[in-house]
Subunit: 604 residues, 2 copies
């Protein structure tokens, strides 16, 4: 098994670790210290060695922060984690506060005292976030001070895991579809257009994409941790721990890419003196800006120049995504066959559900990793949006309950992410109504055609309209970008209520995952991946339009659909989708599975 069901942290972490941190704060003459979830790579997932927030507080969510003062401390989480933080963090030691409403700045403003010196690690904060934090501290009369040595790292030094050293392997052009040299020329031209002579790249996904390499430093995604300096002429320096550099990597990278150890990075930044250097303040920490400024470089703030080309998949990547989704869809359909048959009477628990699905994906022989820990939420656990089953929370299914399974896989040719919700026994009319409203949203976002220039923010409401009409909504984004054998959450595009400036462009893969959650009862989510593609010509149409083509192939539970709530066009979409599932996945199944799929994919 790749997935485990242990808790990596618990509420005792606070009482065990806070005294060690406070001791180090005293030694450094600090009154407090900021502990963001992010590490020095500003990536969503962290290696164990960088889980500073969880080591400090016990909280294991994927976003958050803590502030430790000598006499008090607080932990900050967003709406997804309000239940989880109560279970994981000792309330006697940490105030639990909202990460988004006010967040750390408001806490500093309210709690800071005149004259206090509050430390921060400049490698862990974006320069923009730091501005806000400094201003908030100043309102209380306190001062933020960068530290050389992170007090958490020192307090943790005895038991802290080592930094990851996974081998970095070439990702051949039969998967990437474009040589690194070609990518570097293209991005170099973007730099020139932005008036920059070089760019500092720190996002692991950009390193992976630009140099056509994959690593294993971060669980669930084949990311190499490192940094690069790309020059406008397409040449580059790539900073990687030499332990991770495999024998054939230098030849694969070619003579336009100089390999260097991480220790050489400060000197390389200093050598950019007088140069116009592009750095992305949302990807690179304040340390880069401070270091470049101190070196006398002319820093141009701008978006990571790899983000947009990385998001627009080429024909080879789309073909790979399709192959990966057929493979993954067959495994998932076998799993749904089990859920719809044997499991209905066996009534498995969540751990058994997760294990079964992982086993079926492993049996493809192509599985490199899961793309994230499988969420299998039985009954009320399905309503916990970012749930992950553990031995402590594991629930056995009961008749009349829903099971929500959100899962994905990493294959060399593509990354998958899919959610299906399945009924055990007879679903209630309310469950069927809510499921159908979610399905209507999903279909609206699958069917929409739109002109060039439209962003995901403009399309988000389509997935919510049917729920809104009945006074319902869901509290997460509707769609995220997905990498090509890279991170399962990838920008710069997104479908969400929050504004996003990035227009949807052909080749972008995005999830379509509306949901509905009834706390204490059940959760519903229907998620397919789909990619942006020019729409077929429309009779009488005047403008070139874009649309989506669905990648994910697995049946949607028909017993949860209330057909009278569907309009004709919605029904037509569903039936055409199911016909496609049967056509593409059917041949990969054995006879009983196929017979089941024929019924599961029947027209409605």
């Amino acid at each position: 098994m790749r997935q485990t069901f242990d808790e990596h942290a618990d509420p005792s972490f606070g009482s065990k670790h806070l005294p060690l941190i406070r001791q180090e704060l005293r030694r450094q003459g600090l009154d407090g210290f900021l502990i963001p979830h992010e590490d020095e790579h500003q990536n969503e997932y962290l290696p164990d060695a960088n889980e500073r927030l969880s080591w400090t507080t016990g909280f294991t969510g994927s976003a958050g922060a803590a502030v430790v003062f000598s006499d008090k401390a607080a932990v900050f989480v967003d709406g997804r984690y309000t239940l989880q933080v109560k279970a994981q963090v000792d309330p006697a030691l940490f105030d639990a506060r909202d990460l988004v409403q006010g967040g750390v700045p408001l806490y500093l403003q309210e709690t800071g005292k005149p004259g206090q010196i509050i430390g921060y690690d400049p490698r862990l904060h974006s320069p923009d976030a730091l501005e806000g934090l400094k201003a908030a501290a100043a309102k209380a009369g306190a001062v933020l001070k960068p530290v050389d040595e992170n007090p958490v790292d020192i307090a943790w030094s005895k038991e802290r895991p080592a930094q990851p050293q996974a081998a970095i392997l070439p990702h051949p052009v039969r998967y990437s579809g474009e040589e690194s040299g070609s990518k570097r020329s293209r991005v170099g031209a973007v730099l020139r257009d932005a008036g920059a002579e070089a760019a500092v790249l720190t996002a692991p996904s950009s390193i992976a994409w630009l140099f056509n390499v994959r690593g294993g430093d971060v669980i669930r995604s084949p990311l190499p941790l490192g940094q690069a300096i790309l020059r406008a002429d397409g040449t580059a320096e790539l900073f990687l721990d030499p332990v991770k550099v495999t024998e054939d990597l230098p030849a694969f990278l070619g003579n336009q890419v100089a390999l260097a150890p991480p220790e050489a990075l400060p000197a390389a930044l200093a050598a950019l003196k007088g140069r116009k250097v592009l750095v992305d303040p949302s990807q690179s920490s304040a340390w880069y800006f401070d270091t470049l400024a101190a070196a006398g470089a002319d820093v141009v703030r701008g978006a990571d120049p790899c983000a947009l080309p990385r998001a627009c998949k080429n024909a080879v990547e789309i073909a790979g995504a399709k192959a990966a989704h057929v493979r993954d869809g067959a495994a998932l359909t076998k799993f749904l066959y089990w859920l719809g048959g044997e499991a209905q009477s066996a009534l498995p628990d969540e751990v058994e559900v997760v294990s079964r699905l992982e086993g079926l994906r492993e049996a493809t022989g192509a599985l490199k990793d899961l793309s994230f820990d499988t969420i299998a939420g039985a009954g009320p656990n399905g309503a916990v949006v970012h749930y992950r089953p553990t031995l402590k929370t594991n629930r056995r299914l009961e008749p009349g309950q829903l099971l929500l399974v959100d899962s994905g896989a990493q294959y060399l040719d593509g990354t998958t992410d899919v959610t299906r919700t399945v009924a055990f026994g007879e679903p209630s009319p309310e469950m069927r109504e809510r499921f159908t409203l979610v399905l209507k949203g999903h279909i609206a976002l699958a069917r929409v055609r739109f002109p060039e220039g439209v962003t995901g923010s403009s399309l988000d409401a389509l997935a919510r309209m049917a729920l809104w009409e009945r006074g319902l909504d869901f509290d997460h984004g509707t769609g995220h970008g997905v990498g090509s054998y890279l991170g399962v959450h990838e920008g710069p595009h997104r479908i969400a209520k929050a504004p996003n400036l990035i227009a949807l462009r052909p080749g972008m893969i995005v999830s379509n995952e509306p949901g509905y959650y009834k706390t204490g009862a059940y959760g519903i989510r229907i998620e397919n991946l789909q990619y942006v593609t020019p729409a077929a010509p429309i009779a009488g149409g005047e403008r070139p339009m874009l649309g989506f083509e669905t990648l994910t192939l697995a049946p949607i539970d028909r017993t949860l659909i209330e057909p009278t709530l569907l309009e004709a066009a919605e029904r037509a979409w569903l039936n055409a989708y199911h016909a496609r599932v049967l056509n593409e996945i059917g041949p990969l199944l054995d006879a009983p599975e196929r017979a089941w799929l024929v019924k599961a994919a029947a027209a409605i």
Copy 2:
């Protein structure tokens, strides 16, 4: 007649005025000069005295810019004005370029020469725009230099109209719904929360709203041109030309508001030395930032603190808006009665259409002004989005054509803005299809319910979906805020593809105006004003939802609707709307008009 049909400018302006401007540039040692459309009040509509762009180029659109060099010049317009600029500006003297794609910055970058000094008037440019312009000029090696005396004003001095001096009148609380003192306390608290001790207010609509005054300095809106400094304790200084101060104004303003002449403003800004002062970089020009910085004030950049409370109309303002829309709806329905009857055979021209409508509004006895020049576009003129009929462009209607009429009025109790499209003779099947697609979008945006926090950007796609599905779209925003006896275009909220961070809140008035335009043939737009209000409780609903209530009351041309394209819920909305029009407007009509309305508002 309030509206006139003359051209205020023509293509000869360039050859007459450019030499005068260039002479002044030489005198001031400048190689070039930037001429934005905006004036020192950064308001949409300008007094004649500040129409510098039109005096320079001949172009009279509501947005644009020009750059004049000694040997060349360019005029910049957006997509709405590409036809108009060709008719109004001499192409031998001005390159016509895109205002949005690249705009003035790209032109400076491409055309500027090393060592050139390009002047700008710091009172006319926002600080953010100026940053981009300076960076672009620097790429060409040129330098931007602020001028003390605007070269256009000097070149124009002989024939330039005087600055407006309209009397400023109290706007009593029976219309405003809240005393100025209460507003100043509320906004003062916003300042304190933002960490500011004072705010500099320069938006004429903010001055009008905050002090409950109305003026007449700008045509089509009762705006007073002036500036104010509001302190966090609610006291204020108001800078107005003494000529405009009416006798009872000082007593109305009370002793918390000190009146001062405009000449006192620089000294008052200088007196803010050491204070934290909020200034809105999107409303106040670079001159304010430069002056405050030079005085040693601590400038806090932030949104105009009046913008959001001004947008959220109180109960008195909403009641006023309803009364204004009933009054205006009756005038408009009488106009539509004429269009649907007598005019069908009389075939009026656009000028006659505009005159008729103005006459009917004038006959209410309550008309203070139009809220903008009426757009009456017959046939192909309807496809020119920001068309205004002139004696030169005036077209007579022909059978088989569409007439698009976008108009509005200023009443003491409210501002209206409405568009109806009416068929002359038998409309083509394509016209009916396109009209019905636009209507579907209008209805989707009228019916939607949405939770708190949703912005107009999220709702924009609802108004376009039906068009997108057929490969069609329209190239303007879907909805703008509207003032309460103030500007007909008012922020901070907006319904558009472009991102907008302002959530829709109860009391906000917004237009709902999708359209479709076929160049050279016809234009369609259906526009009602609607305001945000808590939605009626929904059975089974879990969250408080918001919705819209429609303000505008006038029939929508049934002969242009293809009923088979409407879904049941859409038909129900249309029939309920028409029943309401009949119910509220019917009693205000004479017998033949009412008989016509009964048919025009019949269920479909």
